[in-house]
């Protein structure tokens, strides 16, 4: 009776929830799950921590220390003799290799491999014998994590065994070579975003206009819009950039690579977003246009007050996806030879590689692109889910 009253009270306080029917758990499945997590934690977090520790507390960087590590030097024939020469940039990656070859890393990798494979074996044995759904899921998750830890540990053991690791670290992870270029990368990121944002803005304005023309009932109005859209969708972006840059220069109109980029990205995005807007407008129920027209609105008034505002909300996710694509496509202006002060991120990386022959510049550019695009990709997912639940559709954005 009293219990019932308490239940009642709790129910009115918080929203009623569906019962949890996954069932309880037991020490065995929990320990298998923990072992899986432990194995993968060892190999990933352990390796990262070791790298960090060596970065700050590792042996002082000197060529003599690097020489004690295999793979940091190469054999160069000189006359009749063969001498050892440090590989370019070896100093910058010395601590990476040192950490990888340390005893601590060895212990870590073997431990992860053994725990990992043991977890897999245990999981295979036990998962069908678990009495509840929750326990079975825990056992399976532990086994999967264990197998991942095992594979990663084996890979790292193999990877560090030869000279390959050193070569790889030198070529891709030699962050020392970036020391003078951080400012250039930040500036490059700024120009990348400016190019993409400018192109997207111009493209949206152009695209909306084109979509309205393309939706006209009159062929004479539709035709030019279709020709434009098909042309810009049907030719390579790199062709458009090149032709506008060199072609316009040939006609006496000298635009900088950055200006050409803004122009061409706007024209190109205009064509793509026209199709997005067209689809968005066509997705609005016919009744909306009929309601607006039956109130005496002209076609354009109906578009402006009833159809387009609704269509714009619906096309926000695809337009944002296009923006992400455009951010990456800005790299194409590299073919125009961007001047030093207007370089975007990829040009910075390209120039860095040209002067150092080291691919770490490309890695840095990738990190830069991801820093910009990943939050946007998350945002698209968020907006899409809001639209799907109808929240955005009904009340504002």
């Amino acid at each position: 009776m009293i219990q019932g009253a308490v239940d009642q009270e709790q129910r009115t306080e918080e929203q009623e929830r569906a019962p949890d029917v996954r069932g309880g758990t037991a020490p065995l499945p929990v320990s298998i799950l923990a072992a899986g997590w432990g194995a993968i934690g060892l190999v990933i977090i352990g390796t990262v921590l070791l790298q960090v520790w060596y970065t700050f507390n590792g042996p002082a960087l000197s060529s003599s220390i690097c020489r004690t590590n295999p793979g940091l030097f190469r054999q160069v024939p000189q006359g009749t003799k063969i001498i050892l020469k440090p590989i370019g940039g070896a100093l910058g990656t010395c601590h990476i290799i040192s950490a990888l070859n340390s005893t601590a890393e060895t212990v870590l990798l073997w431990l992860a491999a053994i725990v990992g494979i043991a977890t897999v074996v245990a999981a295979f044995y036990f998962f069908r014998r678990m009495p509840t759904k929750r326990m079975r899921e825990q056992v399976i998750a532990g086994g999967v994590l264990g197998s991942q830890a095992f594979l990663i540990a084996l890979f790292v053991l193999w990877f560090r065994s030869g000279e390959g690791a050193t070569r790889f670290a030198n070529q891709f992870l030699n962050f020392d070579v970036l020391s003078g270029s951080v400012g250039s990368f930040v500036n490059g990121a700024k120009f990348t975003v400016m190019l993409a944002a400018g192109g997207e803005l111009g493209g949206i304005i152009l695209g909306l206009t084109l979509s309205l023309l393309a939706l006209s009932g009159r062929k004479s109005v539709r035709a030019p819009a279709r020709v434009y859209i098909n042309f810009f969708r049907g030719t390579p972006l790199i062709w458009q950039l090149t032709v506008f840059y060199f072609g316009l220069a040939g006609l006496g109109l000298n635009l900088s690579a950055f200006q050409t980029g803004l122009l061409v990205f706007s024209l190109n995005t205009g064509a793509y977003s026209a199709e997005v807007f067209r689809a968005g407008i066509q997705s609005i129920e016919r009744g909306q246009m009929e309601a607006a027209r039956s109130l005496g609105m002209t076609y354009l008034q109906a578009m402006r007050y009833a159809i387009v505002p609704q269509a714009v909300r619906r096309v926000i996710p695809p337009l944002m996806n296009e923006f992400v694509i455009l951010i990456k496509d800005t790299a194409l202006v590299v073919v125009l030879g961007v001047v030093l002060s207007e370089r975007e991120m990829f040009s910075v990386a390209q120039d860095g590689y040209a002067s150092s022959a080291n691919s770490t510049f490309y890695v840095a550019a990738a990190i830069g692109y991801l820093i910009i695009t990943l939050p946007l990709i998350r945002l698209v997912t968020f907006v899409e889910s809001r639209l799907r639940t109808g929240l955005t559709g009904i009340v504002g954005l």
Binding site: E290, S294, L295, G393, I394
Partner: protein, 247 residues
């Protein structure tokens, strides 16, 4: 100005084709002011198309629609202006989901009729009171029940102060318990003397509120007369068959 003998709407030999589908096959009807014309008939008989020809939402393939003495099927007629005098309410409400109830009503007043903001608000409020939804003025359509949305749609049409109201199966999409509130609003409107053309499947309502009944089948009007008389003694075989199925 009227050269049609006092009628508000006159349909002259209306034919409508959708592609090769012959939907209306020669409709001649004239509707006088204050008449409440109820149109019934099996689905696919052309009732809705006929209704939508009256405000030329569908342009008849052949024939003329004379509204208030003006041939509105003439290509030189400004149909946008004509439509401000003809309200229509749809089966699917067709409210603008991105606007509030108030904005749904005021948008056409302001942008089409050029009524200024505060007067538009007053006129909208007046109609919302008539349909009993003044407290929902700031809600969005998605927050209302189907019956409430349909009453807003009626208020939106009435705020234009039309001479004629068209109702296109306005209760067909409603849950049974919401039908009455919409029918009551329409009944009240009929009592106030509004000229109305109502396509409906609500036979009780047709009989009670209608002053004239049209039975359509296969794109033609087969019965035209006093609702009670037709319900009690249908002259046409197909009408009798239809009524025996729905009553």
């Amino acid at each position: 100005m009227s050269d049609t003998g006092g009628s508000l709407v006159e349909l002259q030999n209306i034919h409508k084709w959708f592609g090769d589908l012959h939907v209306l096959k020669g409709i001649d009807v004239s509707i006088d002011p204050k008449q409440v014309v109820v149109v019934i008939g099996p689905s696919g008989s052309g009732k809705s198309t006929l209704l939508r020809c009256i405000n030329v939402l569908e342009m008849p393939t052949q024939g003329k629609v004379i509204f208030d003495g003006e041939d509105i099927t003439d290509i030189r007629t400004n149909v946008n202006k004509v439509r401000t005098h003809i309200g229509i309410v749809f089966q699917a409400y067709n409210l603008f989901p991105h606007k509030t109830v108030m904005q749904n009503i005021t948008i056409a007043l302001e942008k089409v009729l050029g009524v200024n903001g505060s007067e538009a608000n007053d006129r909208a409020m007046e109609q919302l009171k008539r349909v009993g939804l003044e407290h929902k003025a700031q809600a969005h359509p998605g927050q209302l029940s189907g019956g409430q949305q349909q009453r807003v749609a009626i208020a939106r049409a009435l705020a234009m102060r039309p001479k004629l109201m068209l109702f296109d199966e306005v209760t067909s999409a409603l849950d049974p318990e919401l039908v009455k509130e919409v029918l009551d609003t329409m009944k009240q409107l009929a009592e106030e003397g509004m000229t109305m053309v109502i396509v409906t499947h609500e036979m009780g309502f047709a009989r009670e509120v209608g002053t004239r009944l049209l039975f359509m089948d296969d794109g033609k009007i087969l019965e035209d007369g006093e609702p009670r008389a037709i319900f009690e003694n249908p002259g046409d075989d197909r009408c009798r068959d239809f009524l025996s199925h729905v009553l």
